[in-house]
């Protein structure tokens, strides 16, 4: 490991959650505009996390604090792996561990809504992980390597032209990870729904603030991996990430929530078949 890799890793550790917070701010402002509202300031998510950090409340279970911290470490580690040009598949698995820790923490609490949300979180993992993994396999096959640098260095023709069929799968993963309709099944992003705040119900105060930072880190990783589709330069990557973000926001605002059964039995198999067809096509080429 040379010094440059270390600098990149530290930059990923610090900047990725901040970028995720900014994405959350853009999300709230754009959503408000789409609903003809003025909306909160761009930095509102940072105020929210600051507020939660300063709240004094006993955890619902003493195990929760531990799981929250592990979830944060796993999410930040996935950022670091990606920023340092590491294995994208490894980054993806580490991030899956983070989501599992969030669910485990919710299972430790007493709230039935938290437990229901935790079960749904596991269903979500079951639905989007295979699709996202096949998407990454496609990228690696097309770019000739699993490490982030070789995928990003695939200059010339953007990967999108070789991988058009993984786009629905990636968008599905983005919607799930951003906790957006129609797939805000585990945490009910918009409040006052039947599961209150789902998997987040029992988390409060400082633990919830840390979980929010972990969520920001996750969002950055997912959008970053999506931006590999057009990795001909940093600006093009940023634009690709923004296209996925805005597509998710528009879908969120025009759709109602699906049930986990529809997600697991219809959307996940369809997107998986499309992504696998793309992978087979790459091998036959």
């Amino acid at each position: 490991m040379n010094l440059n890799t270390l600098y990149l890793a530290v930059a990923g550790l610090v900047l990725a959650p901040l970028l995720g917070g900014l994405v959350a701010g853009v999300d709230r402002v754009v959503t408000a505009k789409l609903q003809s509202r003025m909306g909160p300031p761009l930095f509102q998510p940072f105020y929210d996390v600051g507020k939660l950090w300063s709240k004094v409340i006993a955890p619902a279970s003493h195990w929760q604090g531990l799981f929250v911290r592990w979830a944060l470490v796993a999410s930040l580690a996935s950022d670091v792996v990606l920023a340092a040009g590491g294995d994208v598949l490894m980054c993806f698995f580490v991030q899956a561990a983070s989501a599992s820790f969030v669910a485990l923490g919710a299972f430790c609490g007493n709230s039935p809504y938290g437990k229901l949300g935790a079960q749904r979180e596991l269903f979500q993992l079951l639905a989007y992980e295979p699709v996202f993994m096949v998407g990454i396999l496609c990228m690696a096959k097309a770019a000739g390597g699993f490490d982030a640098f070789s995928i990003m260095a695939a200059q010339g023709q953007p990967l999108l032209f070789k991988l058009p069929l993984i786009v629905p799968g990636l968008l599905f993963a983005v919607l799930v990870k951003l906790r957006k309709s129609p797939f805000d099944i585990a945490a009910s992003h918009h409040m006052h729904q039947e599961v209150v705040r789902g998997v987040y119900t029992d988390y409060a105060g400082r633990d919830f603030a840390l979980l929010e930072i972990a969520h920001w880190a996750d969002v950055t990783v997912v959008l970053w991996i999506c931006s590999f589709l057009w990795a001909t330069g940093p600006l093009q990557m940023l634009a690709t990430g923004l296209v996925f973000l805005f597509a998710a926001l528009i879908i969120d605002n025009i759709s109602a929530r699906l049930t986990w059964r529809t997600m697991l039995k219809t959307v996940a198999p369809l997107t998986l078949i499309l992504a696998t067809a793309n992978l087979v096509w790459l091998y036959l080429e």
């Binding site: 408000a32 909160p40 507020k51 300063s54 709240k55 409340i57 729904q193």
Partner: protein, 147 residues
Amino acid sequence: MFGSFLKTSQVKSPWLLHFDCGSCNGCDIETLACLTPVYDVERFGIINVGNPRHADVLVVTGTVNQRNAVILKNLYDQMPSPKLVIAVGACGCSGGVFREAPNVLGGIDKVIPVDVYVPGCPAKPEAIMDAVVTGLAKLKGILEASK
């Protein structure tokens, strides 16, 4: 610097928990009207949450009676400190026209401490939003004093 950011955050991010404590629904409709594009309380960073563990401000409508006093106290106790309580409408402030009823205890302040009272039957959305802003000014004062 971090400390002042945290204090600013507490004033800029009030999450509301709305509890109907036996209201006729008039004040509830006006409270929920605050979320619509016409009033858009989210511009103040306000979110309407359904979980007391996430809430900073308890907005209560209606009278308190023997049965729901326990629930009101329970919700208040579950909220993390520092917290504000806003009594909305004539019933929430004093019991309103129901105050002499045998099962009615009176206003919200018979059970939990109230920071801001919003008069009206029903209270106007503008008055409810003004109450939240007034409550936040009070919270800011408390935070400044605790320096």
